[in-house]
Assembly symmetry: D2
């Protein structure tokens, strides 16, 4: 999950939520933020572009592209639909990748490094490592493969580096070290996200080209999984698996205010209502997680959908119709 920095002080990793909150707050569209929506049969796609620093400050997300795929079917057990969702995901991933620009000359094939962020041993945080587990990796056989086979696959490698608390090493440091050896032309980083609204959990995928800062802050300035720090383009993908308890309480109080037509605004002096709630909740809820029931199964299913989407996006031979065949 991303760190609690200036960019997610509003406590959501989703640009679509951050933008909705900014709209609510200001009562109108945000200049410098373009939004495009598309309704597909099985998913709603929202493509947000944060065009400049001014807009970035307003919605607390770095400039760049954020694509959200929303589908209730992510939660259902329907392999047919899951397969189609992998296809939708693949198309949006490829929207953000400029393949010819990855390598200096068009005959050179790019190498892609997929990073599974998060902790194997903590269910809601295991999305990234589980995606890596299901992924089709080919780099170790790519060069010795027949030229004909090579046309159908790209060179893909993967790493699940663990989390700072288990390794003692900043996750981005581990990745930078591996990047320096492997010299990939593109990084795709997967992570479990935190959302603001519970209905987003396990029903939304976000893809962005802005990179990601893994883990929780420990004070000093660190490097990120970003184009600037890694030297190659970074696609970040994720799905919300937890929500913040502060949001639950805040939302309930707001719903109560509306339903009961009473003014419950708890803002105080320099504190927003949310900060008031956070101060009260911290002592006894700081160590809680709020996750969907059945999170074990949800992570299991969606990690296959995401791995499938990446496989389709990266390997010409993998198509929506045969995606399950290539899942490890």
């Amino acid at each position: 999950m991303t760190e609690n920095n200036e960019f997610n002080s509003i406590m959501t990793d989703l640009a679509v939520e951050a933008r909705d909150m900014a709209v609510e707050r200001t009562g109108g569209e945000i200049s410098g933020v373009s939004v495009e929506e598309e309704d597909k049969e099985i998913a709603k796609i929202t493509r947000i572009e944060v065009l400049n620093q001014a807009a970035s400050k307003k919605i607390s997300k770095p400039p760049g592209n954020y694509i959200t795929i929303e589908s209730e079917s992510l939660r259902q057990t329907n392999p047919q639909i899951h397969q189609e969702l992998s296809g939708v995901l693949a198309a949006e991933i490829n929207n953000l990748i400029d393949y010819p620009a990855l390598t200096q000359n068009p005959t050179q094939m790019p190498t892609i490094l997929v990073i599974g962020l998060g902790n194997w041993n903590a269910t809601p945080d295991a999305l990234g490592p589980q995606v890596v587990h299901h992924l089709l990796v080919t780099r170790h056989i790519y060069n010795s493969a027949e030229p004909e086979s090579r046309r159908g696959i790209r060179s893909v490698c993967a790493l699940a580096p663990g989390v700072l608390g288990l390794t003692g090493i900043e996750t981005a440091e581990i990745i930078k070290g591996v990047v320096d050896r492997v010299k990939p032309n593109l990084i795709i980083a997967i992570d479990a996200l935190a959302a603001r609204e519970s209905e987003r959990l396990a029903s939304t995928l976000q893809i962005s080209d802005t990179g990601i800062y893994p883990g929780s802050g420990v004070g000093k300035r660190r490097i990120g999984i970003t184009k600037k720090d890694m030297g190659v383009p970074v696609i970040a993908m994720g799905m919300p698996t937890v929500i913040n308890s502060v949001n639950i309480v805040n939302d309930t109080i707001e719903a109560i205010s509306q339903n009961h037509n009473i003014n419950l605004n708890l803002s105080q002096k320099k504190q927003t209502q949310k900060q008031v709630i956070e101060n009260i909740l911290q002592p006894f809820l700081g160590d809680m997680i709020v996750a969907p029931k059945g999170i074990d199964k949800l992570i299991r299913d969606t990690s296959r959908i995401v791995a499938g989407g990446i496989n389709i996006a990266l390997h010409p031979d993998v198509e929506t119709e045969n995606v399950s065949f290539y899942l490890q």
Copy 2:
């Protein structure tokens, strides 16, 4: 986790919380409820007895004994303290077992059936099955064991029957079927519990002699894991692993009321404030669980403590000093 019936409409499985709430509500001690507290170095023990039906109604718990062991050390990684907690737990378990009364004549040795309620595959609900996993079972070797060895152990067997959603069979029906064949003289049932207050999570053990109704209701009247339905005494044990989101919001609103000295009472006509909150939360929080971070490790550790406590309580040869030696 216990069903949502008349006895836990107040949404806690802990008698100690139910009693505190009744005291708060009525502003005084509850007649018919005796409370005894003991402070040990590593744990605080509260022994509550619900003496009659009138008292039972007031605190929404069946008449009988409820022992609570509270210790922050349950959450810490300290094998030495864990061992001592197993010893404390064993002593309290044995407080509720009248061994001579279990069998008709004193030379006959009792057989004890330990039931691990809950779902292997859902982390916060896996306490019961994990306790069974670590338990020392002996019934299959008891009769062929040398008389001398037999003096040091009791005949113990165990079952993790699963949950209704996975088996299609009422859990108590499965147990009743096994009881009819095995004819144990005592049942000990372990379950993950729901608490009202987050600080109880993974820091409180409850032991009672009132039995337990496993799982969530599906309409028709069912049998329970109780002396009445099983025909033998039942000791129920558990530890809270989740809290109800309604309680979080309710507690926060109450804390806000106090801190800000404003009246936020949301009770309406025939609805308590909690019911108002529940109605608002249900649509978007009904499928959430609120559990401690690191719940995987907490369940792993405490299941060993509980299994150790049962081993010490039941087998004369197992003592606090050597309890780890017998953990499976």
Copy 3:
């Protein structure tokens, strides 16, 4: 895995191997054993019937029907083929079930109890519990379901009773107790099997109508999961996941004899060559298992195929085309 009794002294749970060995030994067909083979595109099916006690002694398997489905595709990661294998399996399961005879009158719908034998926590022995995990169970909602829905499903319940070493209770005793309460009209029991030949591992499914004796012997006479002991028909299903190390050595010595054209017959006085080998191996191999590499994934995949096959066989609404949709 089945016990080491008179019926598998030849150390295979597969009738097809037992029959092959008898043929090799006697040099001709075994009277009283009928064999029918069918080659399908994705599987070879062998239907063996042991017609009488004399034949039963010769091949060391109780009289009855044994169907073997052999397919290399069981080991491959191909969801499309896996789906088709579930369909093939379903057809053979239904070959052995006489639905009208299950209930006394044709309007009464039968209840089927599926038993997952084996140990959750020992990978090669976890097939049964994992099948139960994926199974569609309906009994708890069957009676309250609309008559129309009820036409598409049958009442199915399931249990993973554990193993004697973990429960202290004979597995068949647990099942008998549950059968007495639930009163099913049919039992389907799934177990991991031991094969003689390594190429059978994870590539063969066996279905029989002769029942099964779970676990390893502990001396005294016990009840089995058989029609005689349970009072209702029993279908036993399984897949070999381990081979016996004695067989490996024995087969190698035989291969050496043939390849090198030397006589290596090690039979002695009253001991067969295999017994000689067993005596030598026991001290240092008695506690070994010989399993395929990647057994974790093989169990995971095949448990879904088997659960799918049972779902198709039992529920009219589940068909080969939509089988994945109903997997839990």
Copy 4:
């Protein structure tokens, strides 16, 4: 597990077995190999030094030190003994570490990188990752820790890089990349090993200062986890979890030869008996693993013993008496 290169053509990762085989073959001590044995109450320790290249060729192990700790107690469930074994292990680890030489000046504290080789998802290969899981890592808090606390701990970090088949990257490449960023002064690499004799399984620990080549070969020359390739000293540790099936058969045939006093020597022309057996076994046993029953539990227990040993060796504040307290 180590690669199948010139140094383990004899199919054991244990120097103690390699040396015994050389002694058997040549009928006497091997010059250039010094052996020192010490019997402790709970373990037998053998310290082998391979002094030169000539000796290295004879026993097929690189020159350097190999310490073997043999103890049946590794397989038993006895936390007290496990604790003592961690202490024994720690002492032998520290025998191979020259702390003052790790850093250029004595006031600079060394950073140690622990590598858990192997595959999380394949039980017998999961020793390395599980040791990392239990390890006390401190590097991320070391610099911000009080000077007083710092005296009691060393700066330790850890990584479980995965296996080539899952990452597509040579494991040593990943490690080299991380080493270049983290700049540790020492590497400790843990791996599951293959032994020749089944009684070694889960009863022997080996520590060496010669480094390790992870994974199976894929043709081209690769870098190793060695002082030469990593630029810092490397301690390699491991425990055998599997044996080679060729060895089982070979050993049985030899035992048969002895017991029956017949000549079964199967060597042919240019093939040793073992090669003959390997050729016969390969088609049907190449994909098998031979592991102890209960391997899941053995890996779980011994990974804690090894992590405890490393914790004691590296951190002055961790002692044998309190080792469990620091296990994660």
